[in-house]
């Protein structure tokens, strides 16, 4: 395949927080670099799949909308994820399918109907420099994506020109994720769940939690009933960790793990979350549900349900199998 750089569009309005993402980087946790990547990775992959791209081809993650792009080239795009009201030249356009665009056309994304993040994928994928094996923007360090930052007015985006022709293709309804609210998230208990009182773990599962406005790619904060910790005995862990019963000696934070500082709120570790921390964690969201966290909005209600580890693996294998087929094969 011949690959050459090509200007695809200009950012007329960048929106609140739009940035380049791919599926993220791996293997840098011990250096303090989280995996990052498109938060709703399922929507992201489905968009690339429709375009016939590599699943990892870089696109734009749009938070809440307010975006306007003007195209320079005749090409194909796909919009997936949360429905933030995409329009081309002011006409609403369907999501979850390939769309042709021509020079001079304007794509606007604003007017939310559901979800929180939309994904804009381009045939061939966006051409930005790779940082530690990924084109994903990591804002905290200011690396990846377009100069390590969110999109700004006037940015010119390039794509890798793909010589393969894109066809009109849509993602079948049954493959599209169903977003809440209501949100039901499956978690595997583990880590420090034994530090919580039994009643607290019951309360955790029976309660309805509310997502707070302090929610971003680093973490999702939820408010609900207070959780309590057992009194500790013997071990020096307590001395090393800190005075509060929710403190533990600093350790790695799995993606999707749920920590509970002071028992007063929950924080779910997001794709750009801290690699380590010193708060007790009661469990971890199953990886197959992690993408859903990218669409939960402040104010939304969330319920947690425990899942056995075997279910977590089974769901993950099932989810992966979707992306191992060609779209044509699925439609047959």
């Amino acid at each position: 395949m011949i690959r050459q750089k090509m200007r695809v569009c200009k950012v007329v309005k960048p929106g609140i927080l739009s940035m380049v993402q791919d599926l993220g980087r791996r293997g840098h946790y011990s250096e303090g670099i989280p995996d990052g990547g498109a938060f709703d990775s399922v929507a992201f992959k489905l968009g690339n799949m429709a375009l016939g791209n590599s699943l990892n081809a870089a696109g734009i993650e749009v938070l809440l909308g307010g975006v306007c792009l003007e195209f320079f080239e005749k090409t194909w795009i796909a919009i997936t994820g949360g429905d933030l009201g995409p329009r081309i030249d002011n006409n609403p356009v369907p999501m979850w399918q390939t769309l042709p665009v021509i020079p001079g056309q304007k794509l606007a994304i604003s007017g939310r109907r559901n979800g929180l993040r939309a994904y804009l994928l381009f045939a061939g994928g966006l051409d930005v420099p790779s940082f530690m094996g990924s084109r994903s923007t990591y804002l905290f360090l200011g690396r990846g994506g377009v100069r390590g930052r969110k999109l700004e007015k006037g940015d010119i985006l390039n794509i890798f020109h793909s010589s393969e022709d894109v066809l009109p293709r849509r993602i079948p309804d049954r493959l599209r994720p169903i977003y809440g609210p209501p949100w039901r998230l499956r978690i595997v208990y583990g880590l420090q769940y034994e530090l919580f009182t039994e009643e607290s773990l019951e309360r955790f599962e029976s309660a309805t939690w509310t997502v707070t406005s302090q929610t971003n790619r680093m973490g999702i904060r939820l408010q609900g009933p207070a959780l309590e910790f057992k009194h500790r005995t013997g071990s020096q862990l307590h001395e090393l960790g800190g005075r509060d019963l929710s403190n533990i000696p600093t350790e790695g934070n799995p993606l999707g793990s749920i920590q509970c500082p002071a028992g007063s709120e929950l924080i779910i570790i997001g794709p750009d979350g801290p690699c380590e921390g010193g708060y007790a964690k009661l469990g971890t969201n199953i990886s197959a549900d992690f993408f859903l966290l990218g669409q939960i909005r402040p104010g939304d209600k969330v319920k947690f349900k425990s899942a056995p580890l075997v279910e977590a693996y089974k769901e993950l294998y099932r989810q992966k199998s979707i992306f191992e087929k060609d779209l044509e094969e699925i439609e047959d």
Partner: protein, 269 residues
């Protein structure tokens, strides 16, 4: 103490945390780093990364290659072979300049309604600010972890083992100047990036601890200066020296000595 049997904690379907002991001793740290090296030297498939902290190693694994129960068995077998911490644990001693009580750190404290944090620590320990600086810059520190943020490190004093009493911010600061070192308990931590923080701030380090753009010739293949298992000595500099280093940041000549740690001397916490 190091546990006879490690405790395995399930972190969902892609992470596993191995708890190896419950003190913050230097020996436990060296044990953890030795085991981490053994894990990477083994034939365990599907490893993505390992994050060693003061009492644990978190293993990030590929769930399409390995499941938790298989990984636990393989790790148990590996540990059963024996984790031999070398008597002379090879290390490097890195000398880092610190402008203690610098204007930016004082300004940051002021922005959050506090006096210079060194003054708070001096008062808490009933000594002068100069004595705090002297006590802090005296020991050799052991780098326990670097996963706090890119280019950061968490250290504790090993020789001599010194204690400076300190409290934390009641509510975390919204920001900390990049380059700040802070103290929490016996741990001295480096904030490489502007970020929130709750530790008392001691001063600022002018030199780079990472260079992903290859501007400084010291950083070749490895963009990071400091790794777990290294040792650090902080030496005080004044404002003039600080400015001089900052102006010539990409020509700074790092002072690093090949060294080792005597693992039979068990200090720290």
């Amino acid at each position: 103490m190091i546990y006879k049997e490690p405790i395995f904690h399930i972190g969902g379907d892609s992470f596993l945390t191995i708890e190896l002991g419950d003190d913050g001793s230097l020996f436990l740290n060296l044990y953890i780093l030795t085991l981490e090296k053994m894990i990477w030297g083994s034939d365990i498939p599907g490893l993505i990364d390992t994050t060693a902290l003061r009492t644990t190693i978190m293993v990030h694994y590929d769930p399409f290659i390995m499941q938790a129960h298989q990984l636990i068995q393989k790790l148990k077998d590996l540990i059963a072979k024996g984790v031999e911490v070398p008597k002379k644990f090879s290390s490097r001693l890195i000398h880092l300049p610190v402008y203690y009580n610098d204007p930016w750190t004082r300004e940051c404290a002021k922005a959050f309604g506090l006096p210079p944090n060194l003054e708070i620590i001096a008062r808490e320990n009933n000594i002068s600010v100069e004595e705090v600086i002297e006590i802090h810059s005296q020991p050799i520190y052991f780098v326990s972890y670097t996963s706090f943020m890119y280019g950061s490190f968490g250290t504790f004093p090993i020789a001599p083992f010194t204690i400076l009493k300190n409290s934390k911010y009641k509510t975390p600061r919204k920001w900390t100047s990049p380059g700040t070192i802070g103290i929490g308990g016996t741990t001295t931590t480096y904030y490489s990036i502007r970020s929130p923080g709750g530790l008392m701030m001691l001063g600022n380090i002018p030199v780079k601890t990472f260079d992903t753009e290859g501007r400084h010739k010291f950083f070749g293949e490895d963009p990071l200066l400091i790794h777990p298992g290294d040792m650090i000595r902080f030496f005080p500099i004044d404002g003039e020296e600080y400015e001089h280093i900052k102006e010539n940041i990409d020509e700074y000549s790092y002072k690093i000595e090949e060294s080792h740690i005597d693992s039979t001397k068990n200090e720290g916490l």
